[in-house]
Symmetry: C2
Subunit: 332 residues, 2 copies
């Protein structure tokens, strides 16, 4: 691969001049003929600058590290992350995906810091400590943003209060007169940061209402698992279920139907995340929708944090939880 020295040689100028020309350096005037020679030489050699060398010299990168993307990234995160990525790209950042299955906070922070990202966005998954955030900041991160149920000192937090989702679902079921409520908990790994709070939120809401409590129902995202759960339903005596997610809800609903139970007459079913498919199946699925911020908005937040040198500690944590609301359709 040709280097800037090769271009300089071919153009008959110094490496400095090459750099000035190709970066349109404003602080220095280069004659038009020289510019042309340099441009042609670069073109001819197919010169492409070396990003690592540049950022080594510059002392900082334009890397935004997007961490903790699970294999199972269900809606509404998929579209959200897509938007985020596109927006950051438009702002000229290099988005580096970093899946970190099974890494501890310390290991993850170290691995991420090696890249010297200018910002880190941690989506679910890895739980960072204040010390980890400190490590990242010292490594050049001007912004560390966590998206998820927890809040880390020192980091911007886009709190997604999953407990609120569970609470709304339970409240809705209670309102509809149900009392014996089950909560489907996914058996798939990696969803605990979401499923745990959802279950807990439902539990709290039910307790607050003076009802008996909720029953956790492990289930995998397969037809077989749903059928197994539905088969034992009558003996459980539950009259309502909050199914973590619309996907799980629909699976279970189909299985309950096949097992001869009527929805919502025998069992009320509510999901979450307001997926499109919830409106396709009949009865239409009730769900809990929660206002996910747009990817663009988070991208702007990151961009601002990167540019603002002053990062008042107070401002770091003021990004409130998005509101959740139950949407009643036909299944409850």
């Amino acid at each position: 691969m040709p280097t800037s020295a090769d271009v300089a040689r071919l153009a008959g100028v110094s490496r400095a001049t090459v750099s000035y020309v190709l970066n349109n350096a404003a602080s220095v005037r280069i004659s038009e003929p020289t510019r042309l020679k340099v441009r042609q030489a670069a073109e001819e050699l197919g010169y492409v600058p070396h990003a690592a060398a540049r950022s080594l010299r510059a002392g900082h990168t334009r890397i935004v590290l997007l961490a903790g993307w699970h294999v199972r990234v269900g809606p509404p995160y998929g579209p959200f992350l897509g938007e985020l990525q596109a927006a950051l790209h438009r702002m000229d950042y290099t988005v580096v995906q970093y899946g970190s299955p099974g890494l501890s906070g310390d290991e993850a922070a170290r691995a991420w810091a090696e890249l010297r990202p200018v910002a880190v966005i941690s989506v679910g998954g890895v739980v960072l400590s204040a010390h980890n955030v400190e490590t990242l900041k010292r490594a050049g991160a001007r912004a560390v943003v966590t998206v998820g149920p927890t809040r880390v000192p020192g980091a911007h937090a886009l709190v997604l209060d999953q407990a609120e989702v569970g609470a709304r679902a339970a409240a809705h079921l209670l309102e509809r007169g149900r009392r014996r409520i089950g909560v489907v908990v996914p058996e798939e790994g990696g969803l605990e940061p979401f499923s745990g709070p959802r279950l807990e939120g439902a539990r709290r809401a039910v307790r607050a209402a003076g009802a008996a409590g909720v029953v956790a129902l492990p289930m995998a995202c397969t037809e077989e698992s749903a059928a197994a759960l539905a088969a034992g339903w009558r003996s459980g005596g539950l009259d309502a279920v909050f199914a973590y997610n619309d996907e799980y809800a629909l699976l279970l609903m189909a299985a309950l139907h096949d097992a001869g139970l009527r929805v919502p007459a025998d069992v009320a079913v509510i999901g979450a995340d307001d997926l499109l498919l919830g409106r396709l199946l009949r009865p239409r699925l009730s769900t809990v929708r929660f206002g996910m911020p747009t990817g663009e908005r988070l991208a702007e937040l990151v961009d601002r944090a990167v540019r603002e040198p002053a990062d008042p500690a107070g401002a770091a944590e003021r990004h409130g939880p998005a509101a959740a609301e139950a949407v009643r359709r036909e299944s409850t």
Copy 2:
């Protein structure tokens, strides 16, 4: 951020020694006490090596560039890409996501080459020329893999013959005795590399069978758009539809149902990609399934290409298309 020089100073050794210790250099023997001093110093300072500096010196990176991830990345690509990413991570590669909306092949190749990736995986989207592949290889890419309908000279190709999908769908509908066939084409941007060949394949299959031809039906992935399409259905006189995708198929099926048409009596509907939800809705949706390679397999292919210095030109293109087959359920 502390550098290896800081660690060396604190430990009272040279930078070279620090490097040897922290990288467990096998070619050199360092005394145990020294190792300990270095380790402690590094720990104490919270030293994290600088990836860019390292790869600048090494002359190569462990970056695998995953390019062309669209915002709307529908199944079965989502899970596939997730697996791929996880597998590469396990093999100790750094996966860099690079969305390139609206970039030409030349621009994209340049931008990618700046990162000096050791491998490039281009998923749909950007169309690379042989020259672009050459640029990337010169920039250090030991493997360039394209995943999608087209095949680029010089690159490994994981051909996903979308035309075959369309052809199978159409053939299935013809077999079921249908003659006037519509093909839903998504209005959403970014899907053309997939939707175009699917339409074309269906068209060819219908022509080959001596039938009249197919009608392209633009539709967005929303209830409204589906309803609009369904509303004008009777005047179109079509007795079957291939709907690009199970998602579009289900939307349309629900809309047709609401418009008073019976599936499959009045209209046969077939989708593609064999999504889970196609088995939840009744009637169960017929679909075209095609064997997507697992992410693990592609990761291994990349890994092998990276390690094998010899890359016989003949081997570069032998990765055949995955087979597609129609799965009949209840909607056709």
